[in-house]
Symmetry: C2
Amino acid sequence: MGGLGGRAGRGGPAASQARRLKEPTELEIVAFERSHFASYSACGIPYWVGGDVPGRDELIARTPGEHRERGIDLRMRTEVVELDAARHGGGRVRSRDLESGAESWTDFDKLVIATGARPVRPSLPGIDAPGVHGVQTLDDGQALLDTLSRSTGRRAVVVGAGYIGVEMAEALLKHGYEVTVVNRGEQPMATLDPDMGRLVHEAMDGLGITTVNDSPVTAVLTGPDGRVRAVATDDAEYPADVVVLGIGVEPETTLARAAGLPLGAYGGLLTDLAMRVRGHEQVWAGGDCVEVLDLVSGRERHVPLGTHANKHGQIIGAGVGGGYATFPGVVGTAVSKVCDLEIARTGLREKDAREVGLRHVAVTVESTSRAGYYPDAAPMTVKMLAERGTGRLLGVQIVGREGAAKRVDIAAVALTAGMTVERMTSLDLGYAPPFSPVWDPVLVAARKAVAAVREAGY
Amino acid sequence: MGGLGGRAGRGGPAASQARRLKEPTELEIVAFERSHFASYSACGIPYWVGGDVPGRDELIARTPGEHRERGIDLRMRTEVVELDAARHGGGRVRSRDLESGAESWTDFDKLVIATGARPVRPSLPGIDAPGVHGVQTLDDGQALLDTLSRSTGRRAVVVGAGYIGVEMAEALLKHGYEVTVVNRGEQPMATLDPDMGRLVHEAMDGLGITTVNDSPVTAVLTGPDGRVRAVATDDAEYPADVVVLGIGVEPETTLARAAGLPLGAYGGLLTDLAMRVRGHEQVWAGGDCVEVLDLVSGRERHVPLGTHANKHGQIIGAGVGGGYATFPGVVGTAVSKVCDLEIARTGLREKDAREVGLRHVAVTVESTSRAGYYPDAAPMTVKMLAERGTGRLLGVQIVGREGAAKRVDIAAVALTAGMTVERMTSLDLGYAPPFSPVWDPVLVAARKAVAAVREAGY
């Protein structure tokens, strides 16, 4: 077996799982990782930068030494630059030692591609100026922290208002910056419908974070010292001592593309249910470099989340190790927070439903996290989409405070099971005054959705 | 329509829902309530007694006046003492005005029985002594608070270690009492398996609550003033200035039994899916006085919880109002807390599975509420039961701190959908470091359960 570690070293779970199933005498595992780090939690970087997580090492799940102790021939700072995969098994990779520049070919019987994603970095003037930071890797996080500790300025601009953008806004706020989020979209969190995104916008206002919507960045402006001084849009300039790019990522599939492997509409590798690259029985791929089946829309999507990557790793490791497991797909669950505001979504947004030809009704309800009379009951807004006619649940979005985010799991399981909103109204969810109103907010939404489905007819 | 309000006034939701569907000119609604209160949250009483909820009125969902404004002829302090229901609709009830003692008959076309449950009050010597309190009604709560404010003693004994028992232990702790819970069972929380109950026991120890297991109470001992002075078991005496009974409840179906209506093994009324009393098309029953179908075991059970009672009310109100809705059953979800310890369960315990002939495997895992590196990640223990062979989920129990209780909802929905633990391992649950490890604790348990199912064979 040869492996291609991803940027975030996500080949780790696959290699570990394969090793559990096969001894080194049965299966030789070689892993290539071009960065300085093997397995770590990229999702934790905003919290490390923000100071919630005390140090970088806390994010490291497994060091190179620990991988090697488990019988994995991990080659750090070694980049795979060419891939040659035969259709019926076997092949070879050409790798380059990034320290010495030396190159060599390594043969494999089985290959795992876990090359991850790369940040979208638009080719704007000034985008590479000092003071402009991505936050995808531990190196990125360290570079940003270095800038923050050196900077005497107090104005930060975050470009992009998705998960990374809002999490970084919080992190910069904690460093005492005046934070402006410059957002291309109609509202922050484009993974929500705009009406729910507006609630996030209002809450960010309340936290002292300025959000500018409908404003694509046109340039990063630099001062006489060459460092960033502002971010420009068509209409305005936003002064900045530091700029963080939270624009999102795209699959890192350069090698796979060159090798002629099948890619989808988003540029991610296409796999079968066992995470084998389509048409290649001995090549697996997983994590942020693949597209996954969205079980609600029936389409392939690119959903770069560590939770999926870890599941893929288990499944790939089982396959490589001679076992059997499959990944049925996702329903599109994601949770995040900005300070004490919790944001969650699963399933389809209104525009997703329209795009795949699903007629739907949408309802929104206000409820609370606890019984209304219990201390610290916090408001919670739940939006629910259901298919017209059948009443099948299509999606849920939640914005609230404590207890809002993980409530979306109820809907995630219901979506997986193909439940109707009518069936959901009688779900036997946990109730006690400190944890929920007698009708859980998700059930309140389901009841309203039932009424909307009935009223809408077919 | 005539109605029989329950002790906790749970006829309210049914009456309100029926009124939404039918104008007073179409449907006359008479409701009888023997207590001083109409609709209130009995589940909130421990938190009112403990001081989390500032006053009794906070627990009142709707006053008699509010019911009357909605066109419901609510007769307070009026007890129905006889019921005469014809099999094919119609009948009459005899009621007594508890103030004047006057009695009268009221005819009905449709009847709703919402008589609730009554506390189990074992016929022990001294059980009615001053200082011994139940906590089922607002009057009970007020009486207990009066005792607590008058008492100069500082020793409290709680009899019973179920939900009410542990919640009252917390409430008494907050009043500064030394609290001893005297428990008949092997561990506290008999709704959990004993191995999980032991975790609750240990946590209660840590909170300064003494729990004595395997100790049925044999008598309540009184002093020369006739007030309670101790609780006795076969082995010991536990000094007490105040005693709270948290022994549980049983269906209040005295009237229904006398009227020849069908009762189940637990003494609760038996209904069809539309909550109509079996064999009586125009008589509905719901709330704590009925038995419900347990969807996992396929058996009728008595599950006196406000969340079910409220759902029943909606369904009954729809039926009485000429609409249509059904209650498919429960999966046995319940959550509670003692101080910051959260306790949750759904589905079957090991002994339940054995009792209904289901062969099972059981696994237990330790995980955390958040990513391990994120601040305040709290330990969480998840036990999961799955059917041998098929791998179908049978039950989940969780004991932990913040974020533990409502995680059981994931399992509640999965049980409702009849999911296997294998399918659960790929559930797309919300993940971000402040909310969950990359593998949610429920998924960690599911993975271990899959392995156990495979190992166990058929």
